[in-house]
């Protein structure tokens, strides 16, 4: 695997070639604060150019301006050396620039096919008629969507409603959208954030194909192990400023140093050795059937105090549903969930929380945060019932103390607590979501994709938090599609496939390949 990646970076595209697209002193200011500060970059044909940087470094901002979703305060964008105006997304598309945005741009109530073709719907009837009234061609859309999906080797039903898909699958739809026509510049902003290894590889294969066809690809990721697999060159942003461009196979520690401006090597905290007795237990749990959800039946699972148990699996294997079941969000038709040996039958999440459970949802926007409210209000919310308020009356000072503390734990800038969540970068929103679960101490944590889109530095901090929690005797169930993370953190790992737990590994015999085999 590694060797292969190295091989690729060897024959990286010659930097002699005219850049397909280049930015000149691109700048975006929000008031005084420069989200992006005069960044000049070249993106060469057939090159995968990785953008790397902490949360809030300005990656998405840069991308959004290239893709025409955002207008620069200063600076120009050149294509083939000529300046172009990318005023709107459609304008950018006209120049062959297409993007997968970090925040999905999907219409929930439309089908996969309708979403994929949105903005460029296949029309029916003869061309002249089409110019007058654009009559849609349903069959055309479905066919188009099928083609793309098969092309990418995803498992998606063009007729499914997007609202009914998991984040992972929605991510796939996003990718299909961008692949609609062969782009000259393809922008991928954390496309694998909620994809599992396997699906990520499908994507990589496709990227290579486009690469060979001379497409310039801009790739943003926080998953360091991907970088050498796919990248040619890598540019680091920090504080919205350009730091350096290096070959993609530069050593991780060096990259982290460039990114954070200080060197810290990437080590996972050792999971604590001694385990308490069983905190969370599932006994033969079966969930009511839901179409699109693989039936989950007769699941047995136990997490002991101080233990971190991981759940891995492909997108759509049912891991999130299982997680939700633990928290009582899915109706359980048979079997039972026990907390400290006492059955848990919550009528409302409040009951589950009351019993000492906490659930971190994978869908930040819909289930996690109120975007209009401030970071402060979001974080403290559940804490209020855990002594952050004196009965009905709030205790501002105490809140402040508590929050600055958790902010530090997740490396969130405490001075921005007063800002609405909507204004934060994707990764920082994820940190807010995480902080929410750290405000109160509970016995059992169920985390669904807790580090989606969080930068390495912060990830490490979060890993330390999880370790602390387990050290303090909490039982943690960690659902993640980031295998290295699971392998680094957990005591045990369960692999799910088609709704069943198909394999269980102990930390001792973790091995990427053997685990991946179990995915199918």
């Amino acid at each position: 695997m590694m060797s292969h990646a190295v091989a690729r970076t060897q024959q990286a595209a010659p930097s002699a070639a005219v850049p397909t697209l280049s930015t000149v002193g691109l700048t975006k200011r929000y008031g005084q604060h420069a989200a992006l500060d005069s960044v000049s970059l070249d993106f060469l044909p057939g090159e995968v150019h990785v953008l790397f940087g902490e949360n809030g470094a300005g990656k998405s901002t840069l991308i959004s301006m290239i893709a025409g979703a955002n207008t620069p305060t200063e600076g120009r964008v050149l294509m083939d050396g000529r300046e172009v105006a990318l005023g709107s997304v459609s304008a950018a598309r006209a120049h062959g620039v297409r993007a997968v945005f970090q925040e999905f741009s999907l219409i929930p109530w439309m089908t996969v096919a309708e979403n994929i073709t949105l903005g460029e719907e296949p029309l029916a009837g003869p061309a002249p008629l089409q110019r007058v009234v654009g009559f849609l061609s349903k069959s055309g859309a479905t066919a188009e969507a099928r083609r793309l999906i098969d092309d990418l080797g995803f498992e998606l039903d063009p007729r499914a409603t997007v609202a009914s898909l998991t984040r992972g699958k929605q991510q796939m739809v996003e990718i299909c959208k961008a692949m609609r026509v062969r782009p000259r510049v393809l922008i991928l902003d954390e496309p694998t954030a909620s994809l599992s290894e396997h699906d990520a590889r499908a994507l990589f294969r496709l990227i290579r194909r486009l690469q060979d066809q001379g497409t310039a690809i801009i790739y943003v990721t926080h998953r360091m192990h991907e970088i050498p697999l796919i990248g040619n060159r890598l540019s680091v942003l920090r504080d919205g400023r350009f730091i350096a461009t290096v070959p993609a196979d530069t050593h991780e520690d060096r990259l982290i140093e460039l990114m954070t401006g200080r060197n810290m090597e990437k080590v996972y905290p050792r999971p604590r050795a001694d385990l308490g007795d069983v905190r969370l237990e599932l006994r033969g749990v079966s969930l009511d059937h839901k179409p699109g959800v693989p039936d989950i039946e007769g699941i047995d699972l136990a997490v002991r105090a101080g233990e971190i148990v991981g759940i891995a699996g492909l997108v759509g294997c049912g891991k999130s549903n299982l997680a939700q079941a633990c928290f009582g969000l899915r109706r359980i038709v048979s079997g039972e969930v026990l907390v400290d040996g006492v059955p848990l039958v919550p009528r409302h999440p409040a009951d589950a929380i009351g019993r000492g459970l906490w659930y971190l949802p994978s869908d930040r926007k819909n289930d996690g945060l109120a975007l209009e409210l401030t970071a402060h209000e979001n974080m403290i919310l559940s804490g209020l019932r855990f002594g952050a308020s004196r009965g009905e009356m709030l205790k501002p000072r105490r809140e402040a103390r508590q929050l600055s503390q958790v902010s530090r734990m997740v490396e969130f800038d405490g001075r921005r607590l007063g800002e609405p969540v909507a204004r934060f970068s994707g990764g920082n929103q994820q940190k807010i979501l995480l902080a929410k679960s750290l405000v109160q101490d509970v016995k059992v944590y169920v985390f669904d994709e807790p580090t989606v889109g969080v930068d390495i530095g912060a990830c490490l901090a979060i890993y330390r938090c999880l370790a602390d929690l387990s050290a303090r005797g909490a039982a943690i169930l960690l659902v993640s599609s980031n295998l290295p993370e699971l392998m680094g953190l957990t005591h045990r790992m369960l692999v799910m496939s088609g709704g069943d737990i198909v394999a269980e590994f102990d930390r001792a015999d973790y091995d990427e390949h053997r685990i991946l085999e179990q995915f199918f």
């Binding site: 979703a69 709107s88 997304v89 459609s90 598309r93 945005f101 999905f104 741009s105 999907l106 219409i107 929930p108 109530w109 439309m110 309708e114 979403n115 949105l118 903005g119 460029e120 719907e121 029309l123 009234v133 654009g134 009559f135 849609l136 499914a160 409603t161 609202a163 009914s164 959208k177 839901k290 179409p291 699109g292 959800v293 939700q324 969000l329 899915r330 109706r331 919550p346 009528r347 409302h348 999440p349 869908d363 819909n366 289930d367």
Partner: protein
């Protein structure tokens, strides 16, 4: 209940199917039930004569509701439809009257100039609404509320608070009481507009973009949809439809009236919401709106024929609306 609410995360296909079909089933059921009840309680309810009445009476609300639907799909709403109707009524009447007075031998001329003037007004009002909502980014509620106040003021200015007389009888003979193959012309017009709206929303790219804009404005924009343009056009369509309703109403009443359509805004929104149109935008079906409107008019008509007193009618109407929603909830 709360459990159930939180149990279902983003509805999965099955739920969707059910909830949607619940929506789709609830109304017709209500509808049929209402029909039966009234038929039983009021002898001549099912008389063709009365049914034509219902058809004719629904026309004006229906046309406005179609406009409301289009705007609501984009996630907006239009509270100015009422005053829009009054203004078009008054202005078109004035134009007709003057032109007619000018040359009484050419009623057609008067008619057309009146119609054109009316529609122009409607579109203009819609345009202003649309620009306010998109360029100035004023919330539709306030924008259209403000506009309705402004437009109504203008109407009173122009009419001076009295009806406008002297429009050519031809207007009423055709668009008020005319019939083709026994079908009242207003009803035919409405039917035509329904078909048009259906086709636009279901079969055209513009329709698709309407739903996208309402479903998630930013996402639509990121997908290359010119959401602002779409929104403006939506409001203009709504304005035009309101104007058409106003013109038909004028034909029916034989005068230009400032005091009509006061209840249209809320009624039309109600007609949409009861038909499953989401106030959040992105969802709404033409045919359901037709059914919803008919239900509302039918209830009023039925209660009248049952000789239910005015007081009781308030209670009954409200109760029926709520009941319908309770059935159709998803």
């Amino acid at each position: 209940m709360s459990a159930a609410q939180t149990n279902t995360d983003r509805p999965r296909p099955a739920m969707l199917w059910l909830s949607e079909n619940r929506q789709i089933l609830a109304l017709p059921v209500m509808f049929v039930v209402a029909l039966l009840v009234f038929a039983a309680a009021a002898p001549n309810f099912l008389s063709t004569d009365n049914l034509t009445n219902v058809a004719r009476q629904s026309v004006y609300l229906l046309i406005v509701a179609l406009g409301q639907l289009i705007v609501m799909i984009t996630g907006g709403l239009d509270l100015s439809v009422g005053s829009n109707v009054s203004l078009t009524s008054v202005v078109s009447a004035m134009v007709m009257a003057t032109v007619f007075a000018g040359n009484p031998d050419a009623p057609w001329l008067a008619l057309w100039s009146g119609l054109v003037a009316g529609m122009a007004i409607g579109i203009a009002v819609g345009l202003v609404n649309g620009l306010g909502v998109t360029l100035l980014r004023i919330h539709p509620f306030m924008m259209t509320l403000g506009m309705s106040s402004i437009v109504f003021g203008l109407t009173l200015f122009i009419s001076g608070g009295v009806p406008i007389y002297g429009i050519p009888p031809l207007h009423g003979e055709i668009f008020g009481f005319g019939r083709i193959f026994g079908l009242p012309i207003p009803a035919i017009v409405a039917l035509f507009l329904v078909v048009l709206a259906y086709a636009t929303l279901q079969w055209t790219r513009f329709g698709r973009h309407l739903y996208a804009t309402g479903g998630n404005n930013r996402a639509a924009a990121l997908s290359g949809v010119r959401t602002d343009r779409v929104t403006v056009v939506a409001y203009m369509m709504c304005g035009l439809l309101a104007a058409l309703s106003g013109l038909l109403l004028t034909a029916r009443l034989g005068t230009g009236e400032a005091n009509i359509g006061g209840t249209l805004p809320l009624e039309s929104i109600a007609a949409c919401v009861i038909s499953g149109v989401s106030l959040a935008g992105g969802r709404g079906r033409t045919l359901m709106v037709v059914l919803g409107t008919l239900l509302i008019v039918l209830v009023q008509n039925g209660l009248n024929l049952m000789q239910v007193g005015a007081y009781a009618q308030f209670v009954a109407t409200g109760a029926i609306l709520i009941f319908a929603m309770a059935l159709a909830r998803n």
